[in-house]
Amino acid sequence: MLNRKDLLGTADLSKEEILSVIDLAEQYSNENIKNVNNTRILKNMTQINLFFENSTRTQVSFEIAGTKLGTNIVNFPLKNSSQSKGETLLDLASTLNSMFPDILVIRHPKSGAVQLISEKVKCSVINAGDGNHEHPTQALLDAQTIRKRLGRISGLKIAICGDIAHSRVARSNIFCLKTLGNKIRVVGPKTLIPKGIENLGVEVTHNMFDGLQDIDVVMVLRLQKERMDGGFFSSEREYFHYYGLDERKMQYANPNAIIMHPGPMNRGIEIDGDLADDINRSVITKQVEVGLAIRMAVLDLLTRRHPLREKCQEH
């Protein structure tokens, strides 16, 4: 069960809540393969996708997740919209509120913006990424991918590598995987490791060889050049040499270690192309598949108490 109206982050999720999402996603994952029709589950519900920041995979994933559960989906057009005419975020929130949506899926380039909207609307809000803050469904899908592949999701050693500073995926993963009882190490150049991150209960190292020692899961993050205002690293070739995941560095990890990446990948910058495609170790495409099931599970669990569903169950 998710005993909450909104899913804004993983920082305040309990272990039970995380496992309930993952367990249900497991079920959806299997049903998706068998082409089970689940469109009655969220029938007649309205889901609005509100993406203030460009996204392809997450938006499409939420869209298909909603479709598979039978929601009516509206992709709110933000280009040429009232936002570009100067409407404030909260005015937009109250406008949307008056249209009685049941679920809002929001991505915004500024940390905390999704929470701000969630405080003003009555329906459930799912954070699809806010600034450098959180991206909870990514962390949940990562946890499930790990469990699927390694058979457990606790007591593991997990390295998160690269651009931690600009990564909401890193933050959500740290909170989620810590709660589940794993050891986390963050690895990256000092400029991309934000100050005080060790107080979130992670180990910090600036050397990939040390960082990957005895690791079960290697999470590689995208270098978020669009969020950088200069001076975080010298050149892409130097970055790849010291921090890009390649065969040489991978030797230091456990022989059975898996490789993850939230996508989209910059091949030859943070990850070697061949490693990314190595189906024995890389689970990158699996992550996308699991992502769909996780989002279905989140949509389902957040709306369990919705009146439309109670009606459905009566019939």
Binding site: T88, L89, S111, G112, Q115, H133, R171, P194
Partner: protein, 424 residues
């Protein structure tokens, strides 16, 4: 105004002598004429309430000209009077900037029409506070500027800054500096550390304050100006100030009451009323400031009153405007520090009244014969829960909403005239 008035049975708090004792005070024609002498004129029994020199608040932002929807001379001065503030040293970063004598004259005339407390304007040192061209500092002084400042902006070009300070030094007015390095603090809204990291907020290291302070202090020394660092908020820069003072440099320092009461954890889930400039610091920085607040490292405590309308605060944290109002909460928050034992009442008034007065060469801030009768009478023991909508400022952006405070202003006098009476 010529009518004499004697307050009896008052706890007189004199920051100049660091003493507090029950006694009487007589004022006449706008001046304090006698302490503990025979009563003269109308007698007012203070019933053991405190009587102190009125507060001189440094770095007040008034929305005039340009942003009267946020604050006006009228609303700000009503708020000030009810908060025991009798002089506001205003900042020039208005719309347009107070950077020329004509505008300063207009500003002063508007204040005379509308303000019930004293307005002591600081003028811009560079045009539009852009740090590129020096203002007509002599003319500005002639029109009544009491200090120069560049508002909340750091001057990037050291050559221009040095010239400006040197020119100002010859006029013998102080410079009030905002110590936050331009490049390190640009685009940030929090202090680097675990909190900013967890919340994903762009942040500046605390060194931003120290580096700018050291830089400014060096230039100030070359120029010979009296430099006042308006907001020292970290242990690092506090050490720098102590060091500079121990070497006898012509430097003074202040801090904001908000940095003494709150720390970054109070921001919680992106509460934008806690977004101020410089940003709130760690708990340990706040504790260090509090532990040293009773010594002479920090000279002034101010509210840095900066009104912002609801629209500019109801935004994602990074995009929200920074600043908090503080005219009516400076005294109660200061009294909280007294109750918690960090400093005594005369020390508090030294930092909120006497020292800011001295900085801008005003004769206020003392309970002494011949000094202006700018006075506040208050009861420090009345508890209340602050409701932001009860405040008199037009903008209601206070971090103290719902906060338990103590202390009630009973009456405020400016130049011997009653400007606030809680019974009316």
């Amino acid at each position: 105004m010529s009518r004499a008035l004697t307050f009896i049975n008052a706890l007189l708090i004199d920051p100049a002598t660091s003493e507090q004792a029950f006694g009487s005070l007589t004022m006449e024609s706008g001046f304090i004429t006698r302490i503990n002498g025979p009563t003269k004129g109308t007698v007012i029994d203070c019933q053991k309430a405190c009587l102190a020199p009125g507060i001189v608040d440094l770095g007040v932002h008034i929305g005039e000209p340009g942003e009267r929807h946020k604050e006006s001379f009228r609303s700000a001065s009503l708020a000030a009077a009810s908060g025991g503030i009798t002089s506001m040293v205003t900042f020039p970063n208005t719309l347009p900037t107070i950077d020329n004598p004509e505008l300063l004259e207009f500003f002063i005339n508007r204040s005379k029409e509308s303000s019930i407390v004293r307005i002591l304007p600081a003028a811009a040192i560079t045009k539009n506070c852009k740090g590129k061209e020096i203002c007509e500092l002599g003319f500005l002084q002639d029109k009544g500027a009491v200090a120069f400042t560049n508002g909340l902006r750091c001057i990037k070009d050291l050559k221009i800054f040095l010239k400006a300070l040197t020119y100002a030094a010859s006029l013998e007015l102080p410079y009030i500096g905002h110590c936050q390095d331009y490049f390190l603090s640009k685009g940030t809204s929090a202090t680097s550390g675990s909190f900013a990291t967890q919340m994903g907020l762009p942040s500046a290291p605390i060194e931003s304050e120290k580096i700018c302070l050291e830089r400014d202090a060096s230039l100030a020394e070359i120029s010979g100006i009296h430099y006042h660092a308006s907001q020292i908020t970290t242990e690092l820069s506090l050490e720098t100030i102590k060091n500079l003072k121990s070497k006898g440099k012509k430097i003074t320092a202040g801090t904001s009451i908000h940095h003494l009461i709150f720390d970054e954890k109070d921001i919680g889930n992106y509460r934008t009323f806690f977004k101020i400039n410089p940003p709130l610091r760690s708990k340990s920085d706040k504790e260090v400031l509090l532990q040293t607040i009773s010594d002479d490292s920090i000279d002034t405590i101010s509210s840095f009153h900066l009104p912002q309308d609801e629209e500019s605060k109801r935004l994602p944290y990074e995009l929200a405007a920074s600043g908090a109002i503080g005219l009516q909460t400076l005294l109660p928050a200061g009294l909280k520090l007294v109750q918690e034992g960090y400093l005594d009442l005369p020390k508090l008034f030294k930092k909120i009244s006497l020292n800011p007065s001295k900085l801008v060469n005003s004769k206020c801030g003392k309970l002494a014969e011949g000094c202006p009768a700018d006075l506040v009478i208050f009861n420090p023991n009345v508890p209340f829960v602050l409701d932001r909508f009860s405040l008199l400022s037009k903008a209601k952006n206070t971090p103290f909403d719902g906060y338990k405070l103590c202390g009630k202003v009973l009456r405020t006098f400016v130049n011997g005239i009653e400007v606030y009476n809680c019974g009316h």
